[in-house]
């Protein structure tokens, strides 16, 4: 059943506390949307709502972490990484605290709320920070796994969660390492490297292309920092050409991270698909189509790149 990655947030925190981990969540007036509210219902004294005050959210989370707890922060990705970026840099990262930045509603698939609420720079903002690990899960099961990895690995993490229900890619109970990329479909003509909502679109594009005799490999790049270098290089080396796809700016996002790696260790042509400006209102599906980030657009770009 299609579930949003954000649905994994509150549920996984409940399970982790059930299993004995000392976890708290600090949110900023969005407990219902982020699903930390469900966690607070199960464990009332483990959820703190600071109201609409994201900078204080990071400070309070940092203070709680300094008392020995593992702390997750919420809010929407625009506000939960942007409004408080310098607090994340100078308090969480510089002090290497056990704070997990885990906001929801990232990307243009936020939909009708429009440009102010669509985080398209959050991956870039987080992946430049010393000590920060950046995970972008592609479905509910991998979101559960990403939150679990963040909770059980000391130090700062950013886990990017979304609003929209996404098709199932992994089975329930799926687990992963901190540096995780996974070939979700094997191919040889081109490697489509995608993250988050774009993994399902890349898979659908690959199916379309297969009918035409184009054999596209699809790689889920869940960990943007650290990258699973081995998997990414093996796929790039095998296919000889890479197309990256993300619902994020092409400047500084997953595509940039992959291009940085490959230009140094396995130079092959890399083409990036993503956003170059602000989004706007619309449904998630309309916006993915409008900005050329759905399966049809990916398939079209592959044909163009392969001259077919």
């Amino acid at each position: 059943m299609a579930k949003a990655t954000r649905a994994a947030f509150g549920e996984t925190l409940i399970k982790l506390v059930d299993e004995g981990q000392d976890i708290m969540a600090v949110d900023a007036d969005l407990c219902g949307s982020t699903t930390t509210g469900a966690f607070g219902k199960a464990y009332p004294d483990r959820l703190v709502d600071v109201g609409i005050a994201e900078q204080n959210m990071i400070g309070v989370a940092s203070g709680l972490a300094l008392t020995g707890r593992t702390v997750f922060t919420g809010s929407f990705a625009v506000f939960g990484t942007g409004r408080c970026w310098e607090q994340i840099r100078n308090t969480v990262c510089d002090s290497d605290l056990d704070v997990k930045i885990c906001p929801t509603h990232a990307g243009i698939t936020v939909g009708p709320d429009g440009a102010t609420h669509q985080a398209l720079e959050d991956i870039a903002l987080m992946r430049v920070l010393p000590g920060m690990r950046v995970l972008v899960p592609a479905d509910y099961a991998s979101a559960c796994a990403a939150i679990r990895v963040a909770a059980t690995t000391p130090g700062p993490f950013y886990v990017r969660l979304g609003r929209e229900p996404l098709p199932e890619i992994y089975e329930d109970g799926f687990t992963c390492d901190v540096a995780f990329a996974n070939v979700v479909r094997e191919g040889a003509d081109i490697a489509i490297m995608a993250c988050g909502v774009e993994v399902a679109h890349a898979l659908k594009a690959a199916e379309e292309l297969a009918v035409e005799g184009i054999n596209a490999e699809v790689v889920d790049v869940m960990s943007i920092r650290p990258l699973d270098e081995e998997t990414i290089i093996a796929s790039a080396s095998k296919c000889g050409r890479v197309l990256t796809v993300e619902e994020h700016s092409i400047y500084g996002g997953m595509g940039s991270a992959v291009a940085e790696l490959l230009s140094e260790k396995c130079p092959v042509p890399v083409t990036r698909m993503g956003m170059t400006g602000f989004g706007q209102s619309g449904t998630a599906a309309e916006l993915l189509s409008y900005y050329g980030l759905d399966a049809a657009a990916i398939a079209a770009r592959v044909r163009e790149l392969l001259g077919k």
């Binding site: 600090v26 004294d45 703190v48 600071v50 109201g51 005050a53 900078q55 204080n56 990071i58 400070g59 309070v60 989370a61 940092s62 203070g63 709680l64 972490a65 300094l66 008392t67 020995g68 707890r69 310098e86 607090q87 100078n90 308090t91 510089d94 002090s95 290497d96 605290l97």
Partner: protein, 299 residues
């Protein structure tokens, strides 16, 4: 040793604290003179407050173990006063005196702003203004939750803020939060020296009436003379006795206090003394030490 025992073991008299504060001033000038850069003004305005807090008997600390888990917490939100913190750590024995001349050098434990990885006793990296009160609120909340679980009194958290720093909006997010959470184990201290880089705080962007602002957010506000040890001690005693809400001590101070040519001069916010100025300042501080000793003998 439990927190209360740590507090009692560290208690010193006002006279002893006055001498400690004087030696801190000496080391602040010595380290800034050696470093050639840094912040004397705000370090000297905070010296008496910090010395009194740590040796008041109200603050649990362990000179043999800066990380003793039973300790109370001190957050230097105005991280540019790092020299005052390091001078205090020399007094506590966390740092050897010889090390103070490494301030601001590559590889030194005495970074320009406090670094928890580098220096024992530093709870969290600070220096980017406006973040300490939020962090302190989170720690205080964590201690209250610990205390609920363990059925004990929560440990205390003290946050030292600059007055210019109160222009940062995050402080007021934290003030609102701490008031609503009734964090009565949290004490904020505002070092009210009325100078910031661009001039007098009252001219640049006035924070007054700062005590009333805190009161409006549900805090107890207490006034103190930040260079009178008995006054700071009395304010701290009143602050920790407050129940059901956090407390703020608004401590009137003089920037550069204790070095006559630095006092109330904005130019000494972020400039280190030259070798000649260092010599003059150290002589003045040493003379003050002798005067203190003589006065104490007489009394």
């Amino acid at each position: 040793m439990a927190t209360d025992a740590l507090r009692q073991a560290s208690a010193r008299s006002d006279a002893e604290i006055a001498l400690i504060a004087n030696r801190m001033r000496h080391d602040i000038i010595e380290m800034l003179g050696a470093a050639g850069s840094g912040h004397p003004g705000g370090s000297l305005s905070a010296t008496d407050i910090m010395a009194t807090l740590f040796y008041s008997g109200l603050f649990g600390m362990d000179p043999t173990d800066p990380e003793n888990p039973e300790r109370d917490r001190f957050i230097l939100s105005k991280g540019h006063a790092a020299p005052a913190l390091y001078a205090l750590f020399v007094q506590l024995g966390y740092l050897p005196h010889d090390e103070i001349t490494t301030l601001r050098q590559v590889g030194s434990r005495l970074q320009g702003h406090p670094d928890r990885h580098a220096c024992p006793g530093v709870e969290v990296c600070t220096g980017s203004l406006g973040q300490g009160l939020s962090i302190g609120s989170g720690i205080a909340l964590g201690f209250k939750l610990d205390a609920e679980r363990g059925g004990s009194e929560p440990r205390r958290v003290f946050v030292l803020l600059g007055d210019g720093e109160m222009q940062e909006g995050e402080n007021w997010e934290a003030a609102m939060f701490a008031g609503n959470q009734e964090l009565d184990n949290l004490v904020a201290i505002v070092d009210l020296n009325n100078l910031q880089i661009d001039g007098h705080v009252t001219d640049v962007n006035n924070i007054e009436p700062v005590a009333d602002k805190f009161r409006a957010f549900g805090w107890e506000a207490i006034a103190a003379d930040g260079h009178d040890i008995a006054s700071v001690r009395a304010a701290l005693e009143a602050a920790v006795a407050v129940s059901g809400k956090p407390a703020v001590i608004v401590a009137k101070t003089i920037k550069g206090k204790g070095v006559s040519f630095m006092e109330d001069q904005v130019s000494w916010h972020g400039n280190a003394p030259s070798p000649e100025q260092t010599e003059v300042a150290l002589a003045e501080i040493d003379a003050a030490y002798e005067a203190l000793l003589a006065a104490q003998k007489e009394a």
